[in-house]
C-alpha cells in the first residue's frame, strides 16, 4: 500500500522468471532465477523477521523469534536450503506497533527476499498491501483467518486459526466426545476480547452454531485492558450458561476462571489459543500448580488449538527437540522461552522452508518465483501427527488447515506446552463448506 515508498505504482512487477534483472547468475546453480535477497556469490538467502521485542508483548515476541531462529540455524547447519543456500535472518523490532512496523519493514524490504516472520495481525495489516505490490511474501505471526484471503500472506501450517478452533469445537463436543459435552440441555455462551482476535473467534463460534444448532444464549465482550470480569462471568452465570467459550489472553482467562471459581460457578470452558498458558495453573493456585490444575479440572477446561505436546514422539517433535538442544546455546534460548509461541515460530520457519525448497527445486527464487511456489506446496505433512496441510492456487484454497485439536491442562513438568492433546487433529464435516469470502 501507498504508505510505503518503493511501491511501483500499479504496474505489474517485471517478469523475473525468464531473465533475472540483477547480475547474471553465476556460481552455484546456473539456472537459478533470483532478484532480491539472494547473494549469488555466497549463495545466501536473506529473509526478514519483524519481531515484537519491546512494546506490549516482548515475551511472546522473544519466544516466537527464537523458535524461528533455531529452525533456520538447524537448516544452515545442514548447509542451507537445498543443502547449499544458507539463510540469513534480518531481525527488526516493530514493538507490536503498526507505525513502527511500516518503518522497519521499509528499512529492510529492499534487502530481503521475503518476510519469514511478521508478528501480529494489526502490524501485518499495515504492510501486506505494499508487500503484495512488490510480490513480497509475508509469513504472518497471526492466527487470524482473514489471511486466508490474501495472496501473499502465509498462514502457519503448524497451527489452527481462531476461526477453525471455535468452529470445530462444538462439533467435537456434541458428536465426538463421549459422553457429549454439549447436549440439547446445554446452554452455551461466549465471552471474547473486543478486537480482531475476538472477532475471529466469534465468527468461528457463529459458524459452529449455525451448523450444529447448539443452544446459544449468552454473549459478552471485554477489553484487552480489563482486569475485572465479574460482570461477564456473572452475566453468564445468570443466563444459566453451562458451556462457555472464552476467547482471551492468558491473564484475562486466569482472572475469569478465578472469578468463576470464587462465584462457585463452574461451566465447561472451551478456550481458544493462546488463552491458555502453561504457567496459568501455578498462577491460579497462588504458586501451587496442583491446586491450580484442580481449579481447571473443576470446570473442566478444554484448550483449543492445542497443538502437539512437547514430548510427543512424532517425527516433527523429535526434530524440534533435537534442533533445540543442538542450537539453543548459539541462539540463547532459555527454558522460559520454550512454549507454544516458540513452537509457532519454529513451525512458521518450517512452513516457509518448505516453500523455499519448492522454489529452489523449481529454479526460481525471485520474489515472484517464491509466490508461485505456494501452489507447488500442497498436502504437506509437517510431521506433528496432524493431517497434511497445504496451500492452493486461489486465496480460498490457502487455508492451510481447517482442523482443530483440543487439549486439557497438565503439569508443565509433563509437557512444557502445558496442554495434553486429547483429540488429535480433527475436522468437523461442515468445515468444508466454509467460505471465508462470504
Amino acid at each position: 500500500n501507498g504508505a510505503d515508498p518503493t511501491t511501483t505504482t500499479s504496474e505489474p512487477p517485471p517478469p523475473t522468471t525468464t531473465q533475472p534483472p540483477g547480475p547474471t547468475t553465476t556460481g552455484m546453480m546456473d539456472e537459478l532465477v533470483y532478484d532480491v535477497g539472494f547473494d549469488p556469490d555466497t549463495g545466501t538467502i536473506k529473509l526478514g523477521a519483524l519481531a515484537a521485542l519491546t512494546g506490549p508483548i516482548p515475551g511472546i515476541g522473544a519466544s516466537l523469534l527464537n523458535g524461528h531462529r533455531v529452525y533456520w540455524e538447524s537448516v544452515n547447519a545442514d548447509g542451507g536450503v537445498a543443502g547449499m543456500y544458507p539463510v540469513e535472518v534480518v531481525v527488526r523490532d516493530n514493538a507490536y506497533n503498526p507505525e513502527t512496523n511500516v518503518v522497519v519493514y521499509n528499512e529492510i524490504k529492499d534487502e530481503v527476499l521475503a518476510f519469514s516472520s511478521a508478528i501480529g495481525t494489526p502490524t501485518t495489516a499495515s504492510i501486506y498491501e505494499d508487500a503484495a505490490g512488490e510480490n513480497i511474501l509475508v509469513a504472518a505471526g497471526s492466527l487470524a483467518s482473514q489471511w486466508a484471503l490474501t495472496d501473499n500472506v502465509l498462514l502457519n501450517l503448524g497451527a489452527n486459526t481462531y476461526f477453525a478452533q471455535f468452529a470445530n469445537a462444538p462439533y467435537w463436543a456434541m458428536n465426538v466426545a463421549d459422553p457429549a459435552i454439549i447436549t440439547d440441555e446445554s446452554v452455551v455462551g461466549i465471552i471474547y476480547q473486543g478486537d480482531d482476535y475476538g472477532q475471529d473467534c466469534k465468527n468461528g463460534y457463529d459458524f459452529g452454531q449455525a451448523n450444529t444448532g447448539f443452544n446459544h444464549q449468552y454473549e459478552a465482550t471485554y477489553a484487552a485492558t480489563d482486569t475485572e470480569f465479574s460482570a461477564q462471568i456473572g452475566g453468564a452465570q445468570a443466563a444459566g450458561v453451562s458451556v462457555l467459550f472464552i476467547c482471551a489472553l492468558p491473564t484475562a482467562l486466569a482472572t475469569m476462571l478465578g472469578t468463576a471459581a470464587a462465584l462457585e460457578y463452574s461451566p465447561t470452558v472451551f478456550g481458544s489459543s493462546p488463552s491458555y498458558n502453561p504457567v496459568l495453573p501455578s498462577a491460579l493456585g497462588g504458586g501451587d500448580e496442583a491446586a491450580g490444575l484442580a481449579v481447571f479440572a473443576s470446570f473442566p477446561y478444554y484448550g483449543l488449538g492445542a497443538g502437539p505436546e512437547f514430548e510427543d514422539d512424532t517425527p516433527g517433535m523429535a526434530e524440534l527437540r533435537a534442533d533445540l538442544e543442538a542450537h539453543r546455546d548459539a541462539i540463547g534460548v532459555t527454558d522460559e522461552m520454550i512454549n507454544a509461541f516458540y513452537y509457532f515460530g519454529y513451525t512458521q520457519a518450517q512452513t516457509f522452508h518448505i516453500l523455499l525448497e519448492a522454489a529452489v527445486a523449481n529454479g526460481d527464487i525471485s520474489r515472484a518465483g517464491l509466490l508461485a511456489a505456494i501452489n507447488l506446496v500442497q498436502d504437506v505433512d509437517l510431521g506433528y501427527g496432524g493431517a497434511a496441510g497445504g496451500y492452493g492456487a486461489t486465496p480460498l484454497e490457502r487455508i492451510p488447515t481447517n482442523e482443530d485439536n483440543i487439549g486439557v491442562p497438565v503439569s508443565v513438568t509433563e509437557n512444557v506446552f502445558g496442554l495434553m492433546d486429547i483429540t488429535g487433529f480433527f475436522e468437523a464435516p461442515y468445515m468444508a463448506d466454509w467460505d471465508p469470502a462470504g
Partner: protein
C-alpha cells in the same frame, strides 16, 4: 545591508521573512526538502529514510496543531490522537473508492483526490474538536488534560464499534488507498507511492507551518496566549476567552485531522485500536513530548520536536541494529538487545535533554542563533 537593519514600514517590519538573508536560507531549506526523496535514492535503505521523513512531516503537522492549542492557548490536551484517528478514517473514506472486501464487508468511499481527503479529515475533526468546548470552558489545567484523555478511550470505543464498520472497518480497520499525483510533470519526481506520500506530507506540513506562523503572530495567536497566561485579565481587556478556546480546539483538531488523513495513508490499514486505548494514549503523549522537547509555545519548536521524537528512537535503533553501538546482545535474546537498548537510551535521552535544556530544542536553537549572531563577539 542597510535594509537588514532598518525597517522603514510597518508592513515590512511585520513581514514573516523580513530580510533577504532569511529568504535565502528559506529557499535553500525548501529546495533541500523537495530534493530529499531524490537524494536518498542513492543511500542504503532508501525506504527507511523516506518513511522516517514522511512520519516526521505528518507528526510535525499534528504537533503544530497541538502547539497552537497547548503551547499557545495553554489547553494541554491528551486527546490529540482522537483527532488523528478521525482524520485517518474520514480522510480514508473520502480518498478511497467504495469497495467490498473478499469477506464481503462493504466499505464506503468517495474516491476523491488526496487533498480532498485531507481537508475533509481536518474539517470533521475540527467540528468534533468543538465538542470539547463545554469542558474547556469550565475546566483548567491538568483537569482539562485528563478530561481530554477520555477522548482517547471514547475514540477507541467508537472506531472499533461494529456500527461504524463501513467507515472504520471496526476491529479490523479499513483499507486506505495511496496518494497519487496525476501531474505529468512530476512523473520522474514521484516514482513510487511513498514518494507521492512524501510530497503530500511535505505540502501539508508547509501549509500547516505557514498557517501556524500566521496564527501565532496575528490577533488570534495573541488571544490564545492571553487566554493561556491570564484568562481573567484577558477577558477584561476584551478577549472573548470562550471563543479563543474553541477556536484553538478547532484549529488544532483541524491540523490533527489533516495529518491523520495522511497517517491513514501511511498505515495503509488504519485500525481503531491504533488511535485509542493505551496505544493511543502513548501517541497523544508523544505529541506532547514533541511540543515540550521542541520548545512549547514556539512554532518551529513543534517541527524540531517532531524530528526528535519520531526520528531519534528509530535512528538509535537503526544505529544499534547496524552494530554501531557496542555491548548489545543479539535481537530476541530477551536481554539488552538492540530494541531494549534503544528504548532505554531514548528514555534517558529525554531525561537528560530536558534537565539540560528545559525550554527544549527551541531554547537550544535560540542560544546557538544568538551565539552566531554575535559571532565573533559572542558574550
Amino acid at each position: 545591508m542597510a535594509e537588514r537593519l532598518l525597517r522603514t514600514t510597518y508592513k515590512r517590519d511585520m513581514a514573516l521573512i523580513p530580510n533577504r538573508v532569511q529568504w535565502f536560507w528559506l529557499i535553500v531549506l525548501l529546495a533541500w526538502l523537495f530534493y530529499y526523496p531524490i537524494f536518498i535514492r542513492g543511500l542504503p535503505s532508501p525506504g527507511f529514510w523516506l518513511t522516517i521523513a514522511i512520519l516526521v512531516l505528518i507528526a510535525a503537522t499534528g504537533a503544530l496543531g497541538l502547539n497552537l492549542l497547548s503551547g499557545f492557548a495553554g489547553q494541554i490536551s491528551l486527546g490529540h490522537v482522537f483527532f488523528l484517528g478521525v482524520g485517518a478514517f474520514v480522510g480514508g473514506t473520502v480518498n478511497t473508492e467504495a469497495f467490498t472486501t473478499l469477506s464481503g464487508v462493504d466499505f464506503w468511499g468517495l474516491g476523491m483526490p488526496w487533498w480532498v481527503g485531507v481537508l475533509a479529515g481536518g474539517a470533521v475533526a475540527a467540528a468534533l474538536g468543538v465538542i470539547v468546548g463545554p469542558a474547556a470552558v469550565r475546566l483548567r489545567g491538568l483537569y482539562l488534560s485528563l478530561v481530554t484523555l477520555a477522548l482517547v478511550f471514547l475514540g477507541e470505543w467508537l472506531f472499533t464499534a461494529e456500527a461504524l464498520a463501513p467507515v472504520t472497518g471496526a476491529v479490523r480497520g479499513r483499507r486506505v488507498d495511496p496518494v497519487s499525483f496525476d501531474v505529468p510533470v512530476l512523473r520522474d519526481y514521484v516514482t513510487k507511492d511513498g514518494e507521492a506520500l512524501y510530497l503530500a506530507a511535505l505540502i501539508l506540513a508547509l501549509v500547516a507551518f505557514l498557517a501556524g506562523k500566521n496564527i501565532a503572530r496575528s490577533r488570534v495567536g495573541r488571544a490564545f496566549q492571553a487566554t493561556r497566561d491570564r484568562d481573567i485579565a484577558a477577558e477584561v481587556i476584551g478577549v472573548n476567552v470562550t471563543w479563543a478556546k474553541l477556536t484553538a480546539f478547532g484549529v488544532s483538531s483541524f491540523m490533527a485531522g489533516a495529518a491523520g488523513a495522511l497517517l491513514g495513508v501511511f498505515l495503509g490499514n488504519p485500525l481503531g485500536s491504533n488511535f485509542g486505548g493505551a496505544a493511543g494514549l502513548l501517541i497523544s503523549v508523544e505529541y506532547i513530548a514533541m511540543i515540550v522537547i521542541g520548545g512549547i509555545g514556539t512554532v518551529v519548536g513543534a517541527v524540531f520536536g517532531a524530528l526528535f521524537v519520531v526520528a531519534l528512537p528509530e535512528l538509535i535503533k537503526f544505529a544499534s541494529e547496524q552494530g554501531w553501538l557496542p555491548f548489545i546482545a543479539e535481537s530476541g535474546a530477551g536481554t539488552l538487545d538492540p530494541a531494549a537498548f534503544s528504548a532505554i537510551l531514548f528514555g534517558l535521552f529525554i531525561v537528560v535533554f530536558l534537565i539540560l535544556e528545559p525550554l527544549g530544542l527551541f531554547g537550544l536553537w535560540f542560544r546557538l542563533r544568538n551565539y552566531w549572531k554575535g559571532w565573533p563577539f559572542s558574550y
